[in-house]
């Protein structure tokens, strides 16, 4: 099961200029919550923004990563 640090690192590595905050909701590692901010989200629907993040993990979502709750935003100055 990936750690919150690993999830953060992988999101930030995969999505251009992104910053991710990842927290463990339940303390058990199976309900994670990520807030991701990236200019790459500009102009995309929420669905498309979330897909960019989900795509980082592919089949791990619903598997080793039981649940990853997402909030995505473009940086303030570009919103």
């Amino acid at each position: 099961m990936p750690t919150t640090d690993e999830i953060k690192r992988r999101i930030e590595a995969a999505i251009p200029e992104s910053t991710a905050e990842v927290e463990d909701w339940t303390g058990t590692g199976d309900h994670l919550r990520a807030t991701v901010v990236s200019p790459a989200f500009a102009g995309l629907s929420r669905i498309a923004q979330h897909r960019l993040v989900y795509d980082v993990f592919g089949a791990e979502i619903g598997g080793p990563i039981h649940a990853l709750s997402l909030t995505t935003r473009v940086p303030e100055q570009q919103a």
Partner: protein, 132 residues
């Protein structure tokens, strides 16, 4: 692929035939997951009529649904054949009023109502019954 895929066909048909349809874990009366429960509560707070499909009876329902929607998690809400989102997006849209707008209903409830789902609601659509 020449194989027929009755589960995928049944899911596609359900999405096509129901203007608002929620694929969830459990039923609106007895959600089996907190994310599904909160999504149901948002729809019920808007008095939005919706069909519901429990994906738990057969793991292939989830596999085929995600293949159709290109969305990995459950729940998934569709409106007029389009994926609206999962729990995070539906709740964000509920809180901003966009969900009522998208579904064409009045925003009568408030965000607090989501914490207290009401009993009742429309009868769940039992997709597994179509597959036998």
């Amino acid at each position: 692929m020449s194989d027929t895929n009755p589960i995928r066909d049944a899911i596609a048909e359900a999405i096509r035939d129901n203007p608002t349809i929620l694929f969830m874990k459990g039923t609106p009366e007895a959600p089996a997951c907190g994310f599904s429960a909160r999504t149901v509560a948002a729809l019920q707070a808007l008095d939005a009529p919706f069909a519901a499909v429990d994906i738990l009876p057969d793991p292939r329902i989830r596999q085929e649904l995600s293949a159709i929607s290109n969305w990995p998690t459950i729940p998934q809400l569709f409106f007029n054949g389009e994926l609206v989102g999962g729990c995070d997006i539906v709740l964000e849209m509920f809180e901003s009023g966009e969900l009522a707008e998208t579904l064409g209903v009045e925003q009568a409830g408030d965000a607090d109502a989501v914490a207290a789902p009401q009993a009742g609601g429309p009868a769940p659509l039992g997709i597994e019954n179509r597959l036998s």
